[in-house]
Amino acid sequence: EPEVTQTPSHQVTQMGQEVILRCVPISNHLYFYWYRQILGQKVEFLVSFYNNEISEKSEIFDDQFSVERPDGSNFTLKIRSTKLEDSAMYFCASSAPGQYEQYFGPGTRLTVT
């Protein structure tokens, strides 16, 4: 069964450094999302992406964040200058045309020290 994959599974970085989290959505999906879950809190929406542009972003998704689909398979989330409060599990999700459910990857645990 096709699935969303994410790399790395765990990333440790120092405050102020740039990180790129990578996702490979399901191949025939056209809609892509990033969510995050800070330990002990709700899963929160960050951004949705369609047709090579951002469709919606939350208040969390400030200028430090960016997303890109550099080729036909990858979908990336970049954090330009990480802060301690960016430590969280980041989930990528995708959905197909006409589908309302989203399919999630296993997540990348980001630890900022």
Binding site: V4, Y33, V43, Q102, G105
Partner: protein, 117 residues
């Protein structure tokens, strides 16, 4: 905007007992509803969904949920749980309707179901 409340952060039950995990939502518009399950060290797996039609929906692994519009609830149930059902369960909602394929999901805080032998 929508919001989701999962009143129980932890639900311990014995194997073969029935279980209900509660989910209530708040929204000024029609919504679609979902339950996801997260096993240890894995991602969020779709358990079941309500889009329209019959208010009782069946999902994978013997789970079912009932949509109650008047009570704005979407409780998840299983008549007899197994140890392998031990996981965290998340209720989520999103705006319904045409043109909303890109709608964000709003999640509850999750309920940790622990099944004891």
């Amino acid at each position: 905007a929508q919001s989701v409340t999962q009143l129980d952060s932890q639900v311990p039950v014995f194997e073969e007992a029935p279980v209900e995990l509660r989910c209530n939502y708040s929204s000024s518009v029609s919504v679609y509803l979902f339950w996801y399950v997260q096993y240890p060290n894995q991602g969020l797996q779709l358990l079941l969904k309500y889009l329209s039609g019959s208010t009782l929906v069946k999902g994978i692994n013997g789970f079912e949920a009932e949509f109650n519009k008047s009570q704005t609830s979407f409780h998840l149930r299983k008549p007899s749980v197994h140890i392998s059902d031990t996981a965290e369960y998340f209720c989520a909602v999103r705006t319904a309707g045409r043109g909303s394929t890109l709608g964000r999901l709003y999640f509850g805080r999750g309920t940790q179901l622990t099944v004891w032998p």
